[in-house]
């Protein structure tokens, strides 16, 4: 780590640019390490705007950026009277979902899949760069981050192209990342090809302020209930869904329970004189 204070948060624009250039030069080293240890290093390449001054240190791979929300070691930094100093430790953000594309080469069967996807898109008059924000290979699974407006089209190609033939949509699921400004809500779609016996994930993001994602029900009727469930739990509106209503919660339920800003609820429980706080108020180790 360099001498620059990583927590200062203020940077000269020139410095950032230079950092970006330095990172680009050192990237082959990073690629190699990323291929070797995807779990730890895949996120080493951060989006440019989050790159901090540590990148200037060219002696080794750059540290991942600071984690947007987690700090310290024992969750003891916000008013709990922490005197250990551990509360000020910086947690690094290694989440590949927030990182960049995984550089090739990928594992062999995923290479094949990647080539097939490129070929299918080309046939449909499109390219990878037009269609995907990034492609993530992690733990032997590939996730295509599809640009929101392209989703319906991509789903159709993935189902119908003879190279791909993803006949089954296994589900649509939401994930809420409140720290990712502008892309808080993610929808993850799992596809399965019985013809080629392989799987792929499609991930789409949308901001909280505009929670619209195109529906894929017209391509995959099985996504019907899954999209309703994702709407129910996350408030993502699937445009073009035939009847987007709640499915698990009652029709008049306020809010969307799986979002991170929706409290778990619960009351303290008294047992043998001691009071146990509800689960969401207990100490969280992060």
């Amino acid at each position: 780590m360099s001498d620059n204070d990583p927590q200062s948060g203020k940077q000269d624009p020139d410095e950032v640019e230079e950092a970006a250039r330095t990172r680009a030069e050192t990237s082959p080293v990073e690629e190699q390490s990323a291929a070797e240890a995807p779990a730890e290093e895949a996120a080493a390449e951060a989006p440019e705007d989050e790159s901090t001054a540590e990148a200037l240190d060219t002696t080794g791979p750059a540290l991942p950026p600071e984690h947007p929300s987690r700090r310290g070691m024992f969750g003891a930094y916000d008013g709990s009277g922490d005197t250990t100093g551990y509360g000020r430790l910086v947690v690094r953000d290694t989440n590949p979902v927030r990182g960049g594309s995984t550089p090739r080469p990928w594992p062999e069967e995923l290479e094949q899949l990647g080539d097939d996807v490129s070929a299918a898109l080309q046939e449909a008059g499109s390219t990878d760069a037009d269609t995907f924000e990034k492609v993530l290979v992690d733990r032997g699974q590939v996730t295509f981050f599809v640009k929101r407006e392209k989703l319906a089209e991509v789903a159709r190609i993935f189902r119908d192209d003879p190279l791909l033939r993803f006949e089954l949509c296994m589900g649509v699921n939401g994930v809420h990342y409140p720290e990712e400004t502008g892309r808080e809500l993610h929808a993850v779609i799992q596809l399965l090809s019985i013809t080629h016996n392989r799987r792929v994930n499609l991930e789409v993001t949308c901001p909280d302020s505009d929670p619209h994602i195109p529906s894929i029900v017209h391509t995959y009727p099985s996504a019907n209930w899954h999209e309703r469930e994702t709407y129910d739990f996350f408030g993502i509106l699937f445009d073009g869904h035939p009847a987007l209503t709640r499915i698990q919660m009652p029709d008049d339920w306020p809010g969307h329970p799986q979002r991170k800003d929706y409290p778990l609820g619960g009351i303290p429980v008294e047992y043998k004189g001691a009071t146990i706080a509800p689960p969401d108020e207990r100490r969280a180790y992060n």
Binding site: A39, T94, L168, G171, N173, I194, N197, P257, L264
Partner: protein
């Protein structure tokens, strides 16, 4: 519908029951019938169009729990069928975000209560994949996992056949099915301590090694099952009443299954031998010798036959498991992940074994630290997301496990086969008789605990 559209008139002068009366709507008068008020309805029915909407469930004994079927009837024929679900939603996925990774097992085992070991296995395999320790799981743990899952497949199919038979009036199938299932649950109780909701498969292995006498009990059970599994076939296979109720009922062909994402016995009843244990093996299933039974009738009868055949295959797998049980650890070697303690019966009941207490209190400071940290704080799982599918008795059970690098799951979502497969109810039931709806739904084998989570 706005307030102006609805004018409510009580059925009688002296009654004010909002659930029994006639309402004027934009579609004409709507009669809400709850019984003993047929005079009103008969008059209306005689006057013209008769369209009856029946709420079957959520407290109907033949809908396998709290499934609500909304049927539109024309006489005895179902013209439209829709499912209402969510009556058993318990917020398990939300709750898990406030517990450690290990504690999550206790929650997932309660989702699909007929196949707890599959829920646990899908979740735990997801965690292990995120941790990157899939290949480090000891052989013995994997063999025990496979054995428990296959025993569980038998008990789950038995419930499906038993309740399905009962709904058709085959009461002996029900009593026999529950008798055999109870023997399976006895094994679970012997091995895990609990008949259901065992929380037995844990991240890194299994909670506890097999107790003394377990192998002999399983062998005894296998003998019993081989003796009795033929009864179901003798009762049903060529029974004209059974065939009359099931053959051609609940028809869903391959194209329908593909479009609706249907997996499991329903998909295999169309003739496609798709079984994740064969096609995308996990837990070492590729090393076991078994067949994937299929039928090509695409109906409830074929699904019944497939379930019986699958139980026989499961018995074969369990037999192979017993043969390859070698002594060894049942938990991964990494002390920063493996749950430290094994339980033992002491003078004051079940608790940490005295050997373990002696070890952490008297011998090893590191062991004490690991115990304390793992039990209070839990282990951290590197950030990322995986989707891990396994073949549950009802089809593909997928766990989408998301970590943000903390000691708690960021998000866990289960793609439960019951949830997905219930989408096929309209395709299977519309145009058939009301009685066939029961058979069709029973052949899907939905479990609402898994469906609603």
């Amino acid at each position: 519908m706005s307030q102006q559209d609805v004018t409510f008139t009580p059925a009688g002068d002296d009654t004010d029951d909002p659930y029994a009366g006639v309402r004027e709507t934009t579609e004409g008068p709507v009669y809400t019938v709850t019984g003993q008020d047929w005079d009103d309805v008969v008059g209306a029915a005689a006057a013209g169009e008769e369209r009856i909407v029946v709420n079957m469930g959520p407290q109907h004994p033949s809908t396998h729990g709290v499934l609500r079927l909304i049927l539109e009837l024309d006489g005895e024929t179902v013209t439209e069928a829709r499912c209402g679900i969510g009556y058993l939603h318990t917020g398990i996925e939300k709750n898990m975000e406030y517990r450690t990774w290990t504690q999550g097992v206790t929650f997932v085992t309660r989702m699909d209560y007929l196949s707890p070991f599959f829920n646990e296995a899908a979740y735990v395999l997801g965690i292990e994949k995120l941790l990157g320790i899939t290949d480090d799981i000891p052989d013995r743990a994997n063999v025990i996992r496979v054995m428990m899952m296959e025993l569980n497949r038998i008990s789950s199919h038995l419930v499906c056949i038993a309740t399905g038979g009962m709904e058709m009036g085959a009461l002996t199938v029900m009593t026999n099915g529950f008798r055999e299932r109870e023997r399976t649950l006895d094994l679970f109780e012997l091995i895990t301590g609990l008949r259901m909701n065992s929380a037995y498969i844990r991240p890194g292995g299994v909670a506890q090694d097999l107790p003394p006498g377990a192998v002999e009990s399983v062998r005894e059970y296998l003998r019993w099952m081989w003796d009795h599994i033929g009864d179901y076939e003798a009762f049903c296979n060529e029974n004209p009443v059974f065939k009359g109720r099931t053959v051609g009922v609940g028809y869903l062909d391959l194209a329908g299954c593909m479009a609706l994402g249907i997996t499991g016995p329903v998909l295999r009843s169309t003739g496609l031998p798709w079984d994740l244990r064969k096609s995308q093996p996990y837990c070492g299933y590729e090393t076991y010798d078994f067949e994937v039974p299929t039928r090509d009738t695409s109906d409830s009868y074929g699904r019944f036959r497939i379930r019986i055949d699958e139980m026989k295959e499961s018995l074969k797998i369990v037999e192979q498991c017993l043969d390859r049980l070698e002594p060894g650890p049942v938990m991964v070697g990494d002390k920063k992940i493996a749950w430290p303690a094994q339980l033992a019966i002491g003078s004051d009941g079940m608790g940490n074994s005295l050997d373990h207490i002696r070890h952490i209190m008297g011998e090893s400071m590191e062991a004490l630290i690991h115990h304390f940290k793992l039990v209070t704080e839990g282990f951290r799982v590197p950030a990322g997301e995986v989707y891990v599918p396994i073949e549950s008795p009802r089809g593909e059970l997928g766990a989408h496990v998301v970590s943000d690098g903390g000691t708690r799951p960021w998000r866990v979502h289960f793609r439960d086969p019951s949830f997905n497969n219930l989408q096929a109810v309209p395709a299977m039931c519309e145009g058939s008789m009301v009685a066939d709806v029961i058979v069709a739904v029973a052949s899907l084998d939905p479990v609402m605990g898994g469906c609603d989570r």
